[in-house]
Symmetry: C3
Subunit: 204 residues, 3 copies
Amino acid sequence: MVPPSLLHEFSHAETRACVQCLDGNPENRHHSNQFGVHLRTPGQRECAMGRFLLAFAAIVVTTSIASAQSPSPNGVKTLNPAGAIKTTGTWDVGTRAGDFVFVAGMRGIDPKTNTLVQGDEARIRQAFLNMKLIAESEGASLRDCVRIVVYVTDMFRFRPLVNKVQEELWGKPPYPPRTIIEVHRLNQDDITEVEGTFYAPMKK
Amino acid sequence: MVPPSLLHEFSHAETRACVQCLDGNPENRHHSNQFGVHLRTPGQRECAMGRFLLAFAAIVVTTSIASAQSPSPNGVKTLNPAGAIKTTGTWDVGTRAGDFVFVAGMRGIDPKTNTLVQGDEARIRQAFLNMKLIAESEGASLRDCVRIVVYVTDMFRFRPLVNKVQEELWGKPPYPPRTIIEVHRLNQDDITEVEGTFYAPMKK
Amino acid sequence: MVPPSLLHEFSHAETRACVQCLDGNPENRHHSNQFGVHLRTPGQRECAMGRFLLAFAAIVVTTSIASAQSPSPNGVKTLNPAGAIKTTGTWDVGTRAGDFVFVAGMRGIDPKTNTLVQGDEARIRQAFLNMKLIAESEGASLRDCVRIVVYVTDMFRFRPLVNKVQEELWGKPPYPPRTIIEVHRLNQDDITEVEGTFYAPMKK
């Protein structure tokens, strides 16, 4: 059985091999299976390591996806909970440091397929659900969110949808302090991204 | 007397009822009185709940505006200090979690009228004053600010004004670490927004 | 010998005197020596205080650049480590508050010359190195980073370079949670800015 640390190394090695398909070129749309292995899509040049990695992935199928990282020198824990999206590139989905949980900017990627959810409202809901899952893996609910920043690519179109989705997911006030801004572009020409910080004290 | 929790619910229920006037359409300019009740302005369709709510607001006039929220499961306290702007939409103005105070992105809204202050410099000053009031409600001064992000819609025009306002409000160095960026659009086509985090330890 | 606190006051006084050359007008390019004194460049109107300050700077040459600030009322420590870039304007490069270190948005400014590094990749690397130096001055390595936000002015061109630089500087996973967005403009029409938060507990 492949130890978790090796699996994680593998996951990132694969990412480097495919870096050309990760950087915003809409012609190079890609998707990944649950092991983060890039699959060739029509019109995309085949990933050189694809076949090998698919085979390798089958071997590690019984290994936990939520691989453990050893903490940083100062005790920062990198998060990689089961069910979260797989990162492609030089980032991980979250950290815990002391009593706070920091979640990377989340977009509406379906963790089951690692592709963007179709439909504006559904995609925005998925972005918030992706954030929620990571926070909950460290014991923080949406109510324990201390701040969010929401980036949209069209304030008029997407801010009302963000409001609607938050109202649905939080259910009732209070809501976290929010900063919402319209930016020029998000990765993959996406429409909304949300970054959140949460509070989950080690000793309650 | 209406209990504070009911007042808060009411405030948010009203927000939902008027959500169409909150989402960036410059044709739908609105303003609110001190109870967060939307008043009809020329050219704006009348808010369906407006008359009822105005009447209701009169009843709760003696109730503290700064309604208390019970803390989150993990102990996050939602802030709603007297004198702060009233939120319209799915956000609150700030949180305290442990020793930190997080303030939502503040713009130059006059808390007395809930409308934007006229004049670029005056409006930017108001944004910082709004942030300051919320931080001070938890015992943090501007000198206890640990970071700010300033969003402007024109770097050339507004960065000098931000510098001027900060110099005036802080009085002298040191200043907090700052990130300033020009974005495509802010809510209500505003010109500057500032998000700040503060430090206010429970035990000094 | 000039006490450090006076040097710091001086440094900021000078900044105010020259505020017109700091606010984004590409016609007014300036540079500073290691004491933060603005030097006249061809085509720039002479700074009124320039000559006096240059002379004054010679006097304080033996004084530590990394001047100490007394902490804020709540204990926020303003950072000004040796080797860091010199700030021009109403900001400092970082703070420590409790167990966290907050670094201002860093761009690819060479601290030796206080001018922008030439070359896209080299400039982006410098931005991360500037952040790293400040974090390390408080005992936090890149592995102790809990979140970063990366602002780029072209997602297609600069995100791959950010990935490359992070891979080089971190060496291997894990990486911190990241939010990357394309914004309209950065100060000095720069290409990339990174804001990071770090964890460095007082008691390990």
